[in-house]
Amino acid sequence: MLKYKVESEDMESFKIFFMADIHNSELVFRRFLSIPKYYEVDVLILSGDLTGKAIIPIIDLGGEKYQYTFKGRTEVIEGSEQLKSALRELRNRGLYTHICTKDELEELKNKPDEVDRLFKKLISETVQEWVINIEEIIPKEKDVILMPGNDDILEIDPIIQKSDRVIYPLSRLVELPLGYGMISIDYVNPTPWNTPRESEEKALWKMLEGKTNLVDREWRKIICSFHPPPYNTRLDLAPKLDKNLRPVYSFGELEKENVGSKSIRKFFEKYNPLIGLHGHIHESPGCDKVGKTIVFNPGSEYSAGILKGIILELDREGLKNWYRIG
């Protein structure tokens, strides 16, 4: 287990910055990198669903001319500066970009295995780039924890693990100041989309129970960074959809339903850790309580480039204060 490296006897409290679900948004990531500049935080946690879901091809028309179509609009770009700007704009929205000729694009359309390989390549390159950025930009005395989520392919884990600077929290108890420790889970309860890290509730419960072997202190000193929120709280409410994927309204109000994990709820009720930090349901930011555990979900608006996070201040007694960013 890691021992917290910088802790003085007169340290009264420390701050954690927590955010989740940035889905490859370059703009939100850049804002994450600048958090220590504006906030006195000691630990930064970027948790769950780090990677994007789509590649937009940019067609090289030759003579430094490029073209792409997004949301029904076709843009033609000329010159390397415009190209850089367009690439940045698209990456800010969470998209991966791939420059290719028209023929290459036609080939790609018929080869899903090539597209798969391209995804893996772009995802891995981006995560590697982010790890390097964290190593270079965030001050060394701040701990940075990077945790994958259900939407993230397994190939990114070794990239994070290789870093000496960035902490990969899965399968360990991460030491935090003032004797606090953090356990983490990347898997979620089943979704309709067959994401890389999802599991039936039974298997999820087994994973959670397995984490208890890492806990070597009282549960009131434990923070849980579990990607899915607990079931039936303010954090797991997603819009109810009809069979045509349209939101359901009732008396003018948008209907919502709970989609969180029952196993995680059961875990908190059984062990009562101090805090639960969650993501996964972008549209359900908030704070709630399950038994004695205070649970948080910062929500996400990555596609709009908005950073949404939570700062928690802990002292030796417990959670002293918390507030939202964004």
Partner: protein, 551 residues
């Protein structure tokens, strides 16, 4: 998204798109042209006496073409594996899609086993005919052994399942090449058959008699006529049509027989025109190639059937009916010159060449087992893709949706179908079980697919406009063309379904109705089980069926 917009989304089925329009046509033709035409349509000379076979083929073919178009339009909107199931479940109701999918699944795992088992009989019969046509007694003995020996049937059947199963496992590219090559070989034999049939139509009855005798021996032709007359052929015709001279086109024919029983048998000869839809997730440029390939298959099959049947009937006239009667009744026991054999179109055409051009006789005769054999890899493909699609929706064991990383095929689906087919072969080898159901049940079960698909495309523009926009959106006035075609297909396929269900209900052994009811109940049970299981696991079932699965 506009039509130019390309966005690669990170979740795919894993299947690759390798199949073009020619392969779509080959898959359809290999599926369709088989015993339905060669055996059962020719057999109407006995099973539907007095029928106008070409007219019944045209009407039956048009009904099947309408049904095919229902599935074509669904596939163009949702070019996904087992597009009929995807379309019906997303447009009508998931339970209806599930029932339809399970019925087609059940039909095809039986067909794979049964046809593999009967391949020995098909080859045996063909080899007997080749032996007779070439005056080679050893071939005749070999053919006789193949067509009656159960061990040969089991061995050959299992070999077929293994060979075509392994081909299916090795990837879509290899599957495609094998299907295409088999198609071309059978088509060569088919072209020879068409040429022979056209030749038959130019001959006088006396010339037909001479050529028949050259093949089977002096007096063979007259023997058939004599035995038919003495054996009650005219009374048989009269008992069905009311008139002993109404033996069928090109002679006097019965509209009642033609427009009922004959249409059902003829429609059976056309079923499967659209069956490449089960691989729609693997067709390159599916909207274009599936349409082109299937329309190509429709034209090819119509041409093939009419160019074989019309001139053959025109040439052989009432002899065709007499021969069918003799070979299907105890009158065959009276024959001393003619061999007893199952009458197919190939028998008639090949008989014109046995005495003077035996190679042509061989080629024509081999068309039958070749076309039947060609269907096997396609029949095997159908249930594997259905189980993949159901599993992808989380309504079947999840292993079935696994796609092999190297070969890009749903390997577990294929292996399970192979295992069940081999089991079916072993069951069929036991004489007390016999056929577990009959051909009419197969068509009736698949008619459910056509009927539901027809309703789905009729209402698609109104019920799921966002899906409709992805496919064919032509209109006549303000009415979508797919609604017009769907409406016509609904009526036509309902007629077929009713006729088929009547035949199923008439089965005295109760095997057919029990099969239909049993598989339907199984489908309902499995649907509700998986629905409950998914909800228990926290999966939002309504969301699965609100979306079209990824490509």
């Amino acid at each position: 998204m506009s039509s130019d917009e390309v966005l690669f989304i990170r979740k795919t089925s894993g299947l690759v798109r390798e199949i073009g329009a020619f392969s779509v046509m080959a898959i359809a033709a290999n599926y369709v042209i088989a015993d339905g035409f060669y055996l059962f349509t020719a057999g109407q000379g006995y099973s539907a006496p007095g029928a106008n076979i070409p007219l019944a083929l045209i009407i039956g073919g048009l009904i099947m073409s309408l049904a095919a178009f229902a599935v074509i339009f669904l596939t163009m909107s949702m070019p996904r594996t087992a597009s009929d199931y995807v379309g019906i479940s997303r447009v009508l109701h998931p339970l209806l899609g599930y029932i339809e999918a399970l019925l087609v699944f059940g039909v095809h795992i039986w067909i794979v086993g049964a046809l593999s088992f009967f391949m020995a009989w098909f080859w045996g019969s063909a080899i007997i005919q080749v032996g007779l046509a070439t005056h080679n007694p050893s071939l005749v003995s070999l053919g006789e052994w193949l067509s009656v020996d159960t061990g040969a049937a089991v061995g050959l059947g299992i070999l077929y399942v293994l060979i075509f199963g392994i081909i299916s496992l090795l990837g879509v590219k290899i599957f495609k090449y094998v299907v295409n090559i088999l198609f071309v070989i059978a088509l060569i034999a088919g072209v020879a058959t068409i040429a022979g049939a056209i030749y038959a139509s130019t001959l006088s009855p006396a010339q037909i008699r001479n050529l028949w005798d050259m093949t089977y021996g002096a007096g063979a032709y007259d023997e058939i006529v004599r035995v038919a007359e003495a054996g009650g052929w005219r009374d048989f015709i009269a008992s069905s049509t009311g008139d002993p001279s109404t033996w069928g086109w090109p002679g006097p024919w019965s509209p009642e027989i033609t427009l009922s029983l004959s249409i059902v048998i003829s429609a059976y000869a056309f079923w499967g025109l659209e069956f490449a839809n089960y691989m729609a997730g693997e067709i390159d440029k599916p909207k274009r190639n599936f349409l082109l390939g299937t329309v190509g298959a429709i034209i090819l099959v119509f041409a093939y059937y009419l160019l074989v049947s019309v001139p053959t009937l025109f040439g052989f006239k009432e002899f065709f009916s007499m021969y069918e009667y003799v070979m299907n009744t105890e009158a065959a026991g009276q024959l001393a010159i003619n061999p007893v054999q199952t009458p197919t179109w190939a028998v008639f055409v090949a008989s014109l060449f046995g005495g003077w051009a035996p190679i042509l006789a061989v080629l024509v005769t081999l068309a039958v087992p070749l076309w039947v054999m060609n269907g096997l890899p396609v029949y095997m493909m159908v249930p594997t893709r259905i189980s993949f699609a159901l599993s992808f929706d989380r309504f079947f064991p999840e292993k079935m949706a696994e796609v092999n990383v190297r070969f890009r095929t749903p390997h577990w689906s294929i292996i399970v179908v192979m295992a069940i087919a081999i089991l079916m072969i072993l069951i069929l080898a036991s004489p007390e079980y016999g056929p577990l159901f009959y051909a009419i049940t197969a068509v009736t079960a698949v008619a459910v697919k056509w009927f539901f698909s027809a309703i789905a495309i009729t209402i698609l523009p109104y019920r799921r406009p966002e899906i409709y926009k992805e496919g064919y959106t032509g209109t006549i006035g303000k009415i979508p063309i797919i609604t017009i075609v769907g409406g016509a297909a609904t009526i036509a396929t309902l007629l077929l379904l009713i006729l088929g269900l009547q035949q199923v209900a008439a089965d005295q052994t109760l095997v057919s109705p029990l099969w239909m009811v049993g598989w339907t109940l199984l489908a309902v049970g499995l649907y509700f089980y998986y629905r409950w299981r998914n909800i228990k696991r926290g999966i939002r079932v309504e969301k699965i069926f609100a979306e079209v699965p990824p490509a």
